[in-house]
């Protein structure tokens, strides 16, 4: 088991439709491959933590790294873990039209993202908090920063 954290920039801002499609596609694929974690998106800023079996996680990251929808992919951490910290895979972002999103499986408003799980080491929890700050800014309840 390992986890990987990266940040990147979307090539163009993602629309509500694109985000919804991404959420549904990723949830389907990730359940299939036993990938859990969380993705943050705001104003073209992307950050993701995901965990899974090493071979699958590496394959996933290699695919993410060459995905044409984003650039400046910067891997922050890639190391073995003893247990999962996330029960499933979810996405947090500010939809332009929030109604309808609340019912979506795996969707979170940025200010509803729970604090970093206890099972993460303090260094990894700090990393998650920093990437969340980098993506959503100091006040995650406000969409703009």
């Amino acid at each position: 088991m390992k986890h990987i954290v990266y940040i990147s920039r979307a090539v163009h801002p993602l629309s509500d439709r694109e985000l919804e499609r991404l959420l549904q596609q990723c949830r389907r694929d990730n359940v299939l491959h036993g990938i859990t974690g969380i993705l943050f998106y705001s104003h073209g800023n992307i950050a993701q933590l995901f965990e899974g079996e090493p071979a699958i996680a590496d394959t996933l990251f290699n695919r993410i790294a060459v995905d044409g929808r984003h650039s400046h992919v910067q891997k922050l951490i890639d190391k073995p873990i003893t247990e999962r910290s996330f029960a499933d895979w979810s996405m947090a972002f500010h939809p332009i039209e929030p109604q309808g999103f609340a019912a979506l499986q795996g969707f979170l408003l940025p200010h509803h993202v729970p604090p970093a799980p206890e099972s993460l080491s303090i260094a990894d929890a700090l990393l998650v908090d920093l990437v969340r700050l980098a993506v959503f800014g100091a006040d995650p309840s406000k969409p703009a920063h």
């Binding site: 940040i7 922050l76 190391k79 260094a123 990393l127 908090d129 700050l133």
Partner: protein, 618 residues
């Protein structure tokens, strides 16, 4: 041989065929293809009356062709098949005379072949060539004016084209053999690499992107960026590579300087025996110096972008992380004292500091962790010792107070017994009377000393006296009133002037104690030759600090340091005047403990001036 159905064939021919019979040139035979040009009803009519879509040029030559018997051919004539038809079509038209048995011209055969398609294609080709010529001109202008050299190489590595900038840059004549000269102008250190890389790219059919030094017209080698891509027409392998050569000398020098600067800073940071690190604007650490890895026993991968927090003492990690996030969010400097784990598991106290450098749009954090373990321990030892001393001091005060209090009762008893003894007993010897007087004096002295000791301790207790806004004038009056017997006995004159600073924030008891001691001293140490004159003045210093001046015309005293006088308990200057030497010591303790200080100016035999600066330390 079967007879071919010629009329049938003629009718179905895709080319238009018609006969114009006789001098009047009446339409005779008209096949279907010709209908579209002259109409289905042309047969039997004179062509002059029924020209259909035939062009004027043809109609004009009909008579001449008929008369001379010379055939006529017109290529790609524009014809309008019907007067109202929108589309014009092009025909190749031919007039061929035919003759009767006497070899006289009997009529004309008109042939019309629709060449609209060919004509449209021809016109398109013409327009295309115009566009091509314009594009070509544009490309030429662009390649020759852009500030970069463009070139074309073929698959064999021969240089097929170099834009004029190449000649201007290198100073080579226009007739120079590019393929031969070019490699010679490349810096010898770069030449093999460039030739190898270019050859490899040509072999694999890919482009290239590399930098090398090229000799300029003045002999100077300049760094150039060479980029090229093959011209690909699948499935054939590429034949030509087109590329551009840009001078990047200045950028490269700058980048080299930056690299050198960065390397120097890193070297410096690595040489310092402190933990030094840098972080991105988002707060991810991207550099730790050597000492950090030496100290922690972890390598840079173990530490990672946030691993430092794991070095803190477990009880301080959460607070350290929270503070770092707050600083990254706000840009405020980071500062804190934390225990950090050394490679051997021992935690040592460090001051962690980080500041953000905003150099243009790029923000970076620079941080240090300084080992303050020894200072920290020393401070703790000092604090412990200070606490012990304060406790001991307090115990001593309590003891002195208790002792002085407990001793007063026996002293009073002694005084009572002594007075009783003196009243009842008679002493004949005059020496004994003197002895009695001495015992009396000693008893009085004993009692006064005990009283003053109790007051000293009480005053120190009263230092927690709450500060309030005091009316200085009122308190001075009260104190003077309390000293009225001494004032009257010595016929002293007192002047009080508080106009410049009528108010003061201070403890009431403390102010009274200070004034009481100073005024009673001034009365006590008055000059025997003149009545005392004491001036009390409350005022503000030029800095706005409140001060009190107490000036007398008494005995004066000897001073070693007027700005920092030392008043010691029980030390007295005028031993011929009774007293315990407690007063000035008390004054100084009160004033200093509230952050102020006392200054003295004095001339022996003329007088003394005390100045109390209530809030400003010496």
């Amino acid at each position: 041989m079967p007879t071919l159905p010629f009329p049938q064939l003629l009718r179905q021919l895709p080319a238009g065929v018609a006969t114009l019979e006789g001098p009047e040139l009446r339409f005779g035979f008209v096949n279907e293809a010709m209908y579209s040009l002259v109409g289905a009803d042309a047969a039997g009519q004179r062509i002059a009356d029924h020209p259909g879509g035939l062009p004027q040029a043809l109609l004009g030559v009909l008579a001449q062709v008929y008369a001379t018997g010379q055939p006529y051919v017109a290529k790609a004539c524009l014809c309008t098949p019907a007067p109202d038809a929108a589309d014009c079509r092009y025909y190749d038209l031919a007039l061929e005379p035919y003759r009767d048995e006497q070899e006289r011209v009997a009529g004309l055969l008109l042939l019309a072949i629709d060449v609209s398609e060919q004509e449209a294609t021809r016109q398109q080709a013409h327009e295309l060539s115009l566009v091509t010529r314009r594009l070509d001109a544009r490309l030429r202008v662009l390649t020759e004016t852009a500030p970069l050299i463009t070139y074309t190489l073929d698959a064999q590595g021969r240089c097929r084209y170099a834009s004029p900038q190449w000649y201007r840059f290198t100073g080579q004549p226009p007739a120079a053999d590019l393929t031969a000269i070019w490699p010679l102008l490349i810096h010898p250190d770069d030449r093999l690499r460039v030739l190898y890389e270019a050859a490899a790219a040509r072999r694999s059919g890919t482009g290239w992107n590399y930098e090398y030094r090229l000799r300029r017209y003045d002999g100077q080698y300049r760094w150039m960026l060479s980029r090229a891509l093959p011209e690909v027409h699948l499935p054939d392998p590429p034949v030509y590579w087109h590329g551009a050569l840009t001078e990047v000398h200045d950028q490269r020098e700058l980048a080299d300087a930056l690299r050198r600067g960065e390397a120097e800073v890193r070297f410096l940071a690595d040489s310092i025996p402190e933990l030094i690190w840098t972080a991105s604007a988002e707060g991810f650490i991207d550099y730790y110096n050597h000492y950090t890895t030496d100290y922690s026993g972890l390598n840079k991968e173990d530490l990672g972008p946030t691993g430092w927090v794991g070095l803190l003492h477990p009880s301080e990690q959460a607070e350290g992380a929270r503070r770092w996030i707050a600083c990254v969010a706000s840009g405020e400097p980071y500062e804190g004292e934390y225990r950090m784990r050394r490679h051997d598991g021992i935690y040592r106290w460090h001051i962690i500091r980080a500041r953000q450098l905003a150099d243009g749009p790029v923000l970076r954090w620079f941080g240090t962790c300084s080992d303050v373990h020894d200072q920290y321990l020393l401070r703790q030892v000092l604090q412990t010792q200070y606490d012990e001393l304060a406790r001991a001091h307090h115990d001593l005060d309590t003891f002195v107070y208790a002792a002085s209090h407990d001793l007063r009762q026996p002293a009073l008893n002694l005084r009572g017994l002594f007075d009783e003894l003196r009243r009842t007993a008679t002493f004949a010897d005059p020496d004994q009377a003197q002895l009695l007087a001495m015992v009396d004096g000693a008893l009085t002295q004993f009692d006064t000393t005990l009283h003053d000791l109790a007051v000293t301790v009480q005053t120190q207790r009263a230092q927690q006296d709450p500060a309030e806004v005091l009316d200085v004038g009122l308190i001075l009056e009260e104190v003077v009133l309390g000293l009225q017997p001494q004032v009257l006995a010595r016929q002293a004159r007192l002047d009080i002037d508080v106009a410049a600073a009528p108010g003061l924030v201070y403890g009431r008891a403390n102010l009274r104690s200070v004034v009481h001691n100073l005024v009673s001293n001034a009365l006590k140490f008055s000059h025997p030759d003149r009545p005392p004159h004491i001036v009390l003045r409350s005022y503000l210093t030029p800095d706005g600090e409140p001060a009190l001046e107490v000036r007398d015309n008494g005995l004066g005293m000897t001073l070693t340091d007027a700005r920092n006088p030392v008043f010691q308990l029980f030390v007295r200057q005028h031993t011929h005047i009774e007293g315990t030497g407690v007063g000035l010591y008390l004054v100084q303790r009160i004033v200093r403990s509230h952050g102020g200080h006392v200054e003295v100016a004095s001339t022996l035999g003329e007088g003394t001036t005390f100045t109390i600066f209530w809030t400003r330390p010496a």
